[in-house]
Symmetry: T
Subunit: 150 residues, 12 copies
């Protein structure tokens, strides 16, 4: 039986507003509730989670840069930085950690510029369109990958 993996959950810019911001697109669940759901999902998966929200590309880069020492994987919703941040992409690649990219909304059904993810090519995979459930599914996928790679 394997030891509990520690996973870093990163929420990108504007996600602190979740639940209030454009509920038509992002739903009514708050970020705290998302984290709560994740925690509930983590228990049976036997992993522990740390949560990190930032509106700063640089902070996200730094958090990922130090993640390797402490975590076995990253679950990240890069939000707006998905489409513009080479720095976060480089950080993910440098970390060597399995990373799952998730999105609350279906980014392929929105503005043209949201269809391109700079992060996806260096992630294991991407899940978009299922609201808070995107995170929970992403966590499942990440843990599965971590376990199968051991």
């Amino acid at each position: 039986m394997s030891a509990p993996a520690k996973i870093l959950v990163i929420h990108g810019p504007n996600l602190q507003l979740l639940g209030t911001r454009e509920p038509k697109i992002y739903g009514k669940t708050t970020l705290e509730e998302v984290n709560q759901k994740l925690s509930e999902a983590a228990a049976p998966l036997k992993v522990t989670l740390d949560f990190f929200q930032s509106n700063h590309e640089g902070e996200m880069v730094e958090k990922i840069g130090t993640a390797r020492k402490e975590y076995e994987g990253i679950l990240m919703n890069p939000a707006a930085y998905t489409h513009t941040s080479v720095a976060i992409r480089d950080a993910v690649e440098a970390s060597g950690l399995p990373t799952v990219e998730v999105h609350l909304s279906n980014i392929y059904a929105r503005e043209e510029f949201r269809r391109n993810s700079l992060i996806a090519p260096v992630a294991i995979g991407q899940i978009s369109g299922f609201g808070a459930l995107s995170y929970v599914l992403g966590l499942t996928a990440l843990v599965d990958r971590i376990r199968s790679a051991r």
Copy 2:
């Protein structure tokens, strides 16, 4: 308590070869094993599944065209047709059924032409990169959507 939803699982072109075809990209699981995993996941979700594999764009169009009468949702890996079929997109849109698009491989880490999905804009969401698990997660998401919409 809700009645069991019936869900149509569609596998696109070349997926009949799964497990033998380019295992580096698509893994060693066969299509039958994928379906088996899906069936196992369906039981606790209280949904029943029908499986359909086709290499024919036209057959996929027809299957989706008749799906509305019998199914409450579609779980589909459109494979190569993801990138080229307006007809399947139109069929999905016409069906009015909630549809989840899944991919075994991370389509964003491959050739440039695989980064564009004609289906995604008319689906609920998309999951790519987790092998057979992509299907299982997609089923979870689809059932969640069907249940919450009732």
Copy 3:
């Protein structure tokens, strides 16, 4: 006085759903009713019509491939294949038959990818945006061309 021309009417993918599928875009007339209207319009024009609907690019290619022996012209709504099928374009060109392309909806007022027709450059002309009437007008134009070319 000229003998009655025989004309092949081809309906492309998803058109079997007409009347039920997205009535906002395609109207409430069923495919049968479209054919009925065409038959009524054919009588005074002294032409006879054969109807063919297919969701298969290949079947459409084959039907067109054999059309030359039996028909003097083709009236076709290639639907989704308008934008993606080089094979149907080649079949039309190979048939040498005058072909009129029709569309129920105004394809120029929809998604960007619907603005490009691979078929139009090898057709006599194109009519789009008038619902079932597009077919009737197309038939008139086709017969006019056939008659004037005799």
Copy 4:
């Protein structure tokens, strides 16, 4: 029974030369003969027509700008301005009148720059490739729309 609708027929630049200009592309019918054909077609449709030809983008804009008071629809061959005039597009949109765009030649079988119509997205529909008959078919379509909208 409905009152006769009054319809404005607009011919764009260079159409005053019809019948003499490049007969291979545009045929031998003169503009007067086109109008004559339209008048004949108008009678059984119980509509009256006013004809307007201009080589001036600005005059076309103005004519359309005042059309709402007097006409129930516009039948227009914008000719070269099809591809370059945002002003005529704006005028059509501002008029709120149902407008049908027609072309003598098949604009999709000519130079690349003729494939893009700025007008089509704000018209009901478009007919191209049938010579003078394009106008007659367009009139039929326009009257049909006006009648069905009453």
Copy 5:
């Protein structure tokens, strides 16, 4: 104390319809009312205004071509010609007069082709999105520039 500057106000195509045309986009103020507001704003600024509306690119070119003799600046809403007229751009550049470009609607929140202004690179600046107020602000900016350049 400086002498009153004389300023030419130019309204481009379709602006004669203002107040009636698509009020959702352009508001309910008529062109006369816009001019009235401008006149009121001109008084305290100690400038006099001449108004000119045209649907003709050529007339606008000519008006600008003669403006240098009489005016010290141009306030212009080129409307649709913003996006298509090299001739007006050349006229502005040739006039050597400080020119402010204004738009009633936010042209950056509309169709893609409205995002490009051929005029802006030769104007002092551009104001878009504030309805009739765009003109008043533009007048203020223009007068400021004229005064500061004396």
Copy 6:
């Protein structure tokens, strides 16, 4: 009579250098002087202003994220982030606050990459090219919108 609105003025990256940096493009006025002019303009408009300058995309995102509680509108010069920040765009959209985008220089008369604003489509409008006056005009426009929306 309406209560004084509170407005947030945001200055983007490098604007702390105003007056010293490339005076040919940006003029000699310092940021403090811009703020001073804005304060003077605010008095008769009966609004109060808070000033915020940041070189950090993340700080701007956060400031906008909390603005809804305290302010009725945002006056912002996003400077370089105009062209690169999806995060600030999302923050503006999420805030629901009327926002006016201003630029000191005429961004359409500079490098090609400065012609595209990610912010403009979610702002009320945009003013560019009038130096410090751009801000004052923007404030006027913003207050007008806030007042008229009450």
Copy 7:
């Protein structure tokens, strides 16, 4: 020995300003002086010239449309309409008259959008960059073509 050919010289928009407008780009020669030079060059070539300047695309279209009856060739500086007018291109093509396109400035050494001529593909040839001399050379070329085609 051949009879004197009659040639139509067309000057496009803003050329009425020649000699005053941006002398760095267009030189100091006025349009009258250009015409004078052309007249002097016409004498030994035994051709007579008619001059026509217009700022109106529509007038240019009309002038060209009637030119066939009276002239044997067209010498034209389409100025700004070079880059935007499909209507003038169509008029030239419809006229069937040999046409030479001339430009005062070197259009290939200016803004990117001036590098594309819609007229050149239907002209005999193009001369750009030699000031008033461009016209004189163009006249020589045009007469040579007319003479050799007789």
Copy 8:
């Protein structure tokens, strides 16, 4: 001495019409005659051939999907599907069989869209422009590769 290799020859859409369809482009040889020539060429090469023609992308996908069990190489003229079928490309790649792509006409001397082959990057090589001989040369190349790889 090596055993006779078995090779699958695949003819794509519209090739059943060969010899009748556009002889200027494709020549007068029928598909049967092509196969006859291939059989004659196969004898001295000591390979046996199976022929397969289909207008259906899906059938081609399936045929290729099962080819690995029975054949040592594929000689294919994908015709129109060359330019549009990701599914056939995937099938070829999945088969792991050496594949030679042939074309009757020189696809690089035709319409722009025929210049791109989705298949070529996963084939050994490509031969285009030599009519029926393209096939015979392709067979030679394929057998050479199969033999040298043994």
Copy 9:
């Protein structure tokens, strides 16, 4: 019975290095061995060959320019100049000689810029991907064309 045709074989830049340069891409056969193989293939075809290798675009242009007098066809591997030389294309077109373009490697499976051939549109056909055999097959095709055209 036809007289022996004389054929010019042209090897483009860097091909003098064949056999040593990047054997993974180009194989181990030297240029001399390629020529030897060609000579052996030429005998039964009853043609004689001249070989020419050059790294100079200009020399290739000149060789092709004088080829018409002496040769009945050209077999050419333009190597790097395939993608960049309009001059060689013009020379081939000017020569009026049937030309076959060959490549050792599959140019469609390499860098993007190698997918475009400036030569192919003026050649009879193109063969790529079969190493030295590409030349031999090309010779066969060329002779076939020369013989059938006699």
Copy 10:
């Protein structure tokens, strides 16, 4: 009165074939005859000419590189190198000599890739479409510029 200027006439690749190569496009005049015509035109202009033809980009670069010492201007038909040679462009710019670019054919009425000239932006001007006369006109323009600059 000015001393006779010495002018370098450069003919680019394939022009040695003039008169034999594709007479439909380039006419029947040989290069010698072009030079003869130029010499005749040079006499009354009181300039002397040196002729240089090369198929080598490098030779053209070198010739231009040494031209400054001996010549006062360059008359050049860069032929195919017009569209591909940055090196010749750099040589022209480095020479500091006034250069006129001429073309026999109308390069704007041919293939798309011939519409772009790398040389034109560094030349005085360009003349295309008038056969050998293009050179004579170009000489006139060049001498005029040299004289007026003295």
Copy 11:
């Protein structure tokens, strides 16, 4: 003899990880060792160095914004921000300081998006591909420029 110049060395995002992150691309040297090498190189050049690493675009903007007071030049590896930061570009331009851009890896041999540098056009020059040596060479170049400009 000149006084020692003070130079600011800026390391962009993720460079704190140097030596551990993807050693195949970036080598095994740590950032400290790079700085050490730079210090050693600075001594004989008689310049002093300050080192600054940041993952924050905004911090880099600020550091550069204040650099003018203290430093005579900037040596910067903008890392990921090379490709995305207009703000850093603006800061460099505003600083007026000579700036040298360096990269450890050869950015032209990596992903397409790394080929574009927003910084290079405002830098003196760029050095990429030589690992830690890129910095040392960059320092040499920067000092040379500073010395020669004095």
Copy 12:
């Protein structure tokens, strides 16, 4: 201690003019002086240099083609061929020699077409913008690479 490496220095087209050609861009140093500086720099590095300048793409290809036998590295300023020569790129790749690309001017601060280097992806690295010093730095980098690879 290592034996002296022999290095080939290649100067591309127009560099023979150095010091006279556009000194604003390229400086006043002559090519001889550049070589002199290089020789001085070579001594302490214990390498010997051979210099080669050519305006001929083909000569450069040939020189590089034979370099492997004699040299351990190449220092090259491909000048204009940087942007257009696939042949030189292929030669560099074929040589297998470590190659450093240098430029006198900052190619990223000039015309758009100079921003793309065909050579850089196959070089070790690139240095641009430092005049003659670019070469000296490039030599240092090249020697470092050669030494460290031994």
